[in-house]
Symmetry: C2
Subunit: 107 residues, 2 copies
């Protein structure tokens, strides 16, 4: 259920998809039609990208009559933050050991 960092990386790697996500972040909830107007691609292409973003947990959608409203899910980015934090932790360890060493040398 919770997408892994790989999925999020792969999904955001495409500039068009990233652009759609960014617009949803800036402008809030938008219909497919509104998103299509700003993107320079066809409506089916927008729909496909939105489906990808959705399955990566980066957007949610809501039905309203014949329209479908999409909005960004900021928490969908957490796998990325976790991934960064994971490798931050490795570096943290190395850094801490280094600082330890320097401290002992100075004494």
């Amino acid at each position: 259920m919770n997408p892994d960092s790989g999925t999020v990386f792969r999904t955001l790697a495409d500039p068009t998809r990233r652009s759609l996500f960014e617009q949803l972040c800036r402008e809030g909830e938008q219909t497919v039609w509104m998103l299509t107007r700003h993107a320079r691609i066809s409506q089916p292409a927008v729909s496909k990208h939105l489906a990808a973003l959705k399955s990566a947990g980066l957007v949610h959608d809501r039905h309203e009559g014949r329209e479908r409203h999409y909005r960004a899910v900021a928490r969908g980015l957490s796998p990325l933050v976790d991934w960064l934090g994971l490798y931050g932790a490795f570096w943290r360890d190395r850094l801490d050991r280094l600082e330890d060493l320097l401290e002992r040398i100075d004494r």
Copy 2:
């Protein structure tokens, strides 16, 4: 010179490349030969991925005789952190600390 977030996303989207980067983070400096041993792909494939990581600013290389040593560049992740900072308020604190950490590591 400073790669944009798009380049970093695209580069880390590939699982093999991400795996190489992760290993460099964990194990520190490594030769191509050492990296090839752990990866399940040919040496030329490893070299190609390393070239991609390098042009994305995620690794540096160093010559030593006929060997070439690669190491992760933590600061190469900054474009990612910057981009995340624009779209997530939740983890602002964590990102700030991470940014700090990245800066101090590569120094």
